[in-house]
Amino acid sequence: MIVAKQKPLSELTAMLDGYRNVLAVGCGTCVTVCFAGGVKEVGILASALRMARRLDGEPMSVAETTVQRQCEAEYIAPLAEGLDEFDAVLSLGCGVGVQTLAERFPGKRVLPALDTAFMGLPTEQGVWEERCQGCGHCVLDITGGICPVSRCAKQLMNGPCGGSQGGMCEVDTDTPCAWQLIWERLAGQGLADRLLEIQPPRDWSTSRDGGPRRIVRDDLRLPPAEDV
């Protein structure tokens, strides 16, 4: 899932300075599951913003709604009705959700309430960890199902750096060294010798370095109108 967390209230009150009537829009998918932007978090944030603004002597109305999936146009289309009454939309979606709203309603100020952090999973209740950076060329087949691109601070492809100690990373001693994990996983599977192969430099053009990425599936596109 996409994991996000709410921006500090002070950042949001500064962002919303001057607006009087705001619609807070949550998303029922990833950010609901990571407790950052679902129905309840929209309620908490809206309440907090209303209170903060009342205390500032600049009351602001914050209406609340949550769509099932903020990253698809058809789910946000119904928001068009009644949107005129609001002078800004505060999205509690991920960065994709914010941009989907902004693309669909180009005349409206759409502001982000969350900091979108990573693609990851909950490792225990209340804890989420990154697992994927969407680099566009998965290497999990050679690394025992443990991603060195997202889990090694140096994105090493040929084994651990000299800072791995006691199974932990030099950057943060609470973070396991990805290459220690890879080594243990492959050794456990009797495949440790695979780590002796030198992995060549990566082609990062499939990653963010190639600019915004796009996937086209011709079999799924609508046929050209003239052929229908």
Binding site: L156, N158, G159, C161, Q165, E170, V171, I198
Partner: protein
């Protein structure tokens, strides 16, 4: 040593035969079978070339080549290549260190060509300390390629005259002796020898290790290295360094990732100031430093007995004055001239 023989000269005057990969002094010393000595110079956090010249002067005659660190511990310092060029001008051979943290493959190759053009003949390929430990923790790190991929890239540039993309380098590749680092004390221990094997296979000519204090673990490591025959593929130089104080010994033991300092070494440093008045800071400092140099000399003497080891790399951090007494004390002074 692999030797690349040039095709027989066609005409009259025999062209100089390129018998060495780089022709560097370090390469010649290793080829001649001498126990090599390198040391480390940390460039200043300023543009003061005099600092480099002063440090270089302290090493002249004591070492076969001097490493120049590249933004060591992720702290911005005078460029390693510029420092290397200053050393070349002074007649002290540099080993320019280059990390994967700060440069992508374009910048690396460009800088390698530049280094060679400035007369630099040795490069040490490193991953680089993480920027979170340095003075720009908010910086974006690069890590386009890793240190093993870098070793291979430099080798292909040098031996095949090819850029990493496969394009030809006009006029041939840069003559650089390729070094890499190894940390026998990081984890997982079993993987450390494999990683050295990968660096050798990628084309490293020499290896400089992390600081060795734990002699028994290092012997175990070297035994595995020799069992795999890696010592014949790559020249291994053990990292050593004088401790400056008991506090430094404890810090390295307790706080530095990938470093093992035995309690016995810490105890020796602590005992060095026995009988010295606590308020006599100067006397304590001198007692500690003298003991640090003594321990380092003893270590080098022990290391020379280890099969497969080809030299030592002395890291006297911000204490380059210590190098000469260490080299002298270890019986490695004066440095022999390479016969070839």
């Amino acid at each position: 040593m692999d030797q690349i023989s040039a095709p027989a000269p066609a005409a009259q005057a025999p062209a100089p035969v390129r018998r060495f990969k780089s022709g560097s002094n370090l390469e010649r010393m290793l080829a001649a079978g001498h126990f090599a000595v390198t040391a480390e110079i940390g460039p200043p956090k300023s543009h003061d070339a005099e600092v480099i010249r002063r440090k270089a002067a302290l090493l002249e005659g004591c070492v076969d080549a001097a490493n120049i660190t590249d933004n060591q511990t992720a702290v911005v310092r005078l460029s390693s290549i510029a420092s290397g060029a200053i050393l070349v001008g002074q007649g002290l051979e540099p080993v320019v260190q280059m990390t994967c943290r700060d440069r992508n493959r374009l910048a690396m190759q460009s800088d390698l060509l530049g280094a060679a053009a400035l007369g630099i003949r040795n490069v040490l390929c490193l991953t680089g300390d993480h920027q979170s430990h340095g003075n720009h923790p908010g910086a974006k790190n690069v890590h386009d390629i890793d240190s093993i991929q870098m070793v291979r890239m430099v080798k292909e540039m040098r031996d095949e005259g090819l850029f990493q993309c496969g394009e030809e380098i006009s006029g041939g590749g840069p003559p650089l002796l390729i070094g890499a680092a190894a940390n026998p004390f990081a984890d997982p221990f079993e993987l450390r020898v494999h990683r050295l094997a990968k660096k050798a296979a990628a084309g490293a000519d020499f290896i400089q290790t992390q600081l060795v204090f734990d002699m028994s673990r290092f012997r175990e490591y070297m035994k595995r290295v020799v069992d795999l025959g890696l010592h014949e593929k790559v020249a291994i130089l053990a990292g050593v360094g004088p401790l400056k104080s008991a506090g430094m010994a404890r810090h390295m033991r307790d706080k530095v990732p990938g470093m093992v300092v035995p309690d016995g070494t810490v105890a020796r440093m602590e005992a060095a100031v026995d009988g010295v008045a606590a308020e006599d800071k100067q006397a304590r400092r001198e007692a500690w430093r003298a003991e640090g140099i003594r321990i380092c000399i003893e270590q080098i003497r022990e290391l020379r007995e280890i099969e497969g080891l080809r030299g030592v790399h002395i890291m006297a951090i911000e204490w380059e004055e210590a190098v000469r007494p260490i080299v002298e004390g270890a019986g490695l002074f004066p440095r022999p001239a390479p016969e070839v």
